[in-house]
Structures are given as C-alpha cells and as structure tokens.
Symmetry: C2
C-alpha cells in the first residue's frame, strides 16, 4: 500500500478502527476476510471499506478478500506505529497521570520520554515509571532529548503561555487535552485535540435528541 | 432557536466549541460580535458560522451580529446543559478516577450519582467525593436511582459483558472509553466513543504525513 497524498482526514480517522478490528481477528486466528464480512463486524458497508482501503492503493483480491495479517501490518505501517516519536507529557495532575499510566504509547507509534509539572507537590513523584520533572528543566531536556510531540494535560491558560515555547523547543505535534485552540495562532504544527468536555456535551445533545424521539445520524 | 430535526452530527459536534468561545467572550465582557469576528477567533469562516447557527433557526441580525450572552444561553439550552442526566461511572481505575475528578459533569448536562468497580481494592475508596460501590450493588442501585447514562472506563471484554445488563437496567446512553463497539450489537442506545488510542494513532499518521511534507486537511 502506498500513501496517498489526498487522503481525507475522515478516512485517516477510520484507520485505527480497522487496525483494532484486524488485530482482534488475528488474535482469533482468522487469516482472511471479505470486505462484506469485515463490514458486518465493523458496522460499515463493504463498499465503504473498499473505498477507504483503495485510498492507499487497495489491498483485497477479487474472490479472495483481504489477508488479515498483511492488512493489519500495512495499516500499522501507514499509521506509523512502527516508529517511536519521542514524546513529553506536560501536567501530571489526575488526567496526566491517568494518560501516562493508562495509554500504551509504544504500540501507537510514540515513546514517552519525560513528564513535567510546575507544582512542587508532584515534581519528583513517579508517574508511569517516570519521575516527574520540574518545568524549569524543560528547555535543557528538549535540547538534549529532542522530543517532537507534547501531550498537554494542563489548563487552557497554561497551554496558551507554553505553546510558543514548546514550538520553539522543537515540538512539532500536540496531543491536546487542554482547551487551548492551536488552530488560531499556530498553523504550522499538527494538533490532535481531545476535548472531553465537548464530547460530553455532544452526548448530552444526542441523549435529549433521542428522548425527544427525533432522529440523528449515528455517532 | 428551535431544534432542527435534520441537523448533521458534524454541526452538533461544533456546538460545544461555540459554547466555549462564547463563554470566554462573556467572561471578557464582550456583549456582541459579528459572524466575521467570531470566525476570526475560532478559525472558521463567517459563512460557516451563519450556516451552522441557521440549523437552529439562525440568531444573528444583519448589521448587528450576535448577542453573545443570548447565543451562549441558547446553545446551552440546545445542548441540554441545563438538564442533569443521572449518570453512573463504571471502572474506578486510573482513567475512571481521572474522569470522575477531572470532568465537570454538572456544567455539561450530567449529574454523576454513582461510581462502581469490581475490584475489592478500590471498592469503598473515595473518588470525586463519592464512595466506590461494588458491581454487586449495580442492579439495586439502578432500580432505585434510575440513572440513564453510563460512563464506561473498563476494558473491552468487560464492557461487552456488561452492555446488555446496563441497557436492561435502563441505561440509554454511554460515554464509552472502552474499545467495545456498541454499533455492532446495540442500535437503540446513544453512544459517544472516546477512543483515546485511536486519537493517538491518528496523530501518529498526521505527524509522519507532515514530516513527509505531504499535505492533509487540518485536524
């Protein structure tokens, strides 16, 4: 599979889901699968699956379907999961600690190399097997370790203040749990926002929508 | 503003973001704003904003723009934030604890009324001001307290086993942090998935895409 330069973000966003389902099929000893069978399992249509995978040059064979293991590894490669992007996490509060300990960075293409906080009450404590460093060490650390990704588990105001400094220190991408909107002032970095509050409010809308008996497309 | 039955989910997903920005404008003492000014702040186009808000009957006045406070409260109402959907959280591990303590449920239309776990090591401990209950109490609790929303902070396998029981106990909506795919076997409930691993893998793709010098639409 070749990377296609014009792949839409909505197709990219479905790739991790294909990856999860193919991983499970592998675990269950399934070696090949038709687009129709895969569609049934994933709650998609066969034509959508063929269309998605065709963005990367296709992969199935008429009458055979997909080789599960090959497709899994190709999607891994397309997602860059075989790489280890050096990553720092900033903010070792409840959320930061949960992410550092709960998320498997290594299997998702990242390597968590440092955790930082400004609060003396957590600096020096252990999170996910790492010692929380002071923000005072950030610049020197980045110069030496050259991380390219930062996970932001800090309030919006702190993120706003930090963003320029982090970009200057070589951070090219953010996994952003703060409510700071990078889009407004930083166009030259990659940002994946996880706005959990927004997600919860969307759920609120959809619950009331359901209760009102109105219809809405599937989430 | 009236609810429109044919609002697409992508419009709904932008409402919380409008809500956040309008809340900040209010805090900053801004009383009215044009769609162009709002567009600049939010990194959207004025026509997109007008189009989005028109889904709910519009709201601006030619030559005046939007009244910030009125629009904020209308969007609150549309999102159902003035309601308090009774909510339980299942799984009081790192992630569940972070969500119970970090997320402001009350301001997002929810009221967290119970936290459950199956592990005796956390049952009885305090999370977000609540005592973690045993899963053995779940059925009786739901009969008495009638929660309608469940936050799932448990592994996929546990979610799969629990889903039917929770639906039977009256749960109509899920904020789903597990990797269980409700779409496949439950069509009659509302599910908002937060697949943090998928989000991270999407980021991985986009970082490599950027580094390869290829273009991708903004996240």
């Amino acid at each position: 599979m070749a990377k296609n330069q014009n792949v839409s973000l909505s197709v990219v966003r479905r790739l991790p889901r294909y990856h999860r389902f193919l991983g499970e099929l592998m675990q269950n000893g399934v070696h090949r699968i038709s687009s129709r069978e895969l569609a049934d399992i994933m709650g998609l249509t066969a034509s959508q699956i063929r269309q998605d995978l065709n963005c990367f040059g296709g992969f199935g064979q008429q009458g055979y379907g997909y080789n599960v293991e090959t497709l899994y590894h190709e999607i891994s490669r397309i997602l860059g999961l075989d790489q280890k992007l050096r990553t720092i996490l900033i903010g070792a509060g409840n959320l930061g600690r949960a992410i550092a300990t709960h998320i498997e960075f290594e299997s998702r293409g990242f390597s968590l190399v440092g955790v930082f906080d400004k609060s003396s009450s957590v600096i020096g404590s252990s999170v996910g097997g790492m010692t929380v460093r002071s923000m005072d060490e950030l610049a020197a650390f980045c110069k030496q370790e050259e991380p390219v990704v930062a996970v932001l588990c800090i309030p919006k105001d702190s993120a706003q203040v930090l963003a320029d400094q982090l970009v200057e220190l070589g951070i090219r991408a953010f996994w952003n749990f703060s409510h700071y909107d990078f889009a407004v002032s930083h166009k030259d970095v990659v940002v994946e926002n996880v706005h959990m509050g927004d997600s919860l409010m969307t759920l609120s809308y959809c619950v009331h929508d359901m209760m009102d008996g109105e219809s809405i497309e599937e989430l």
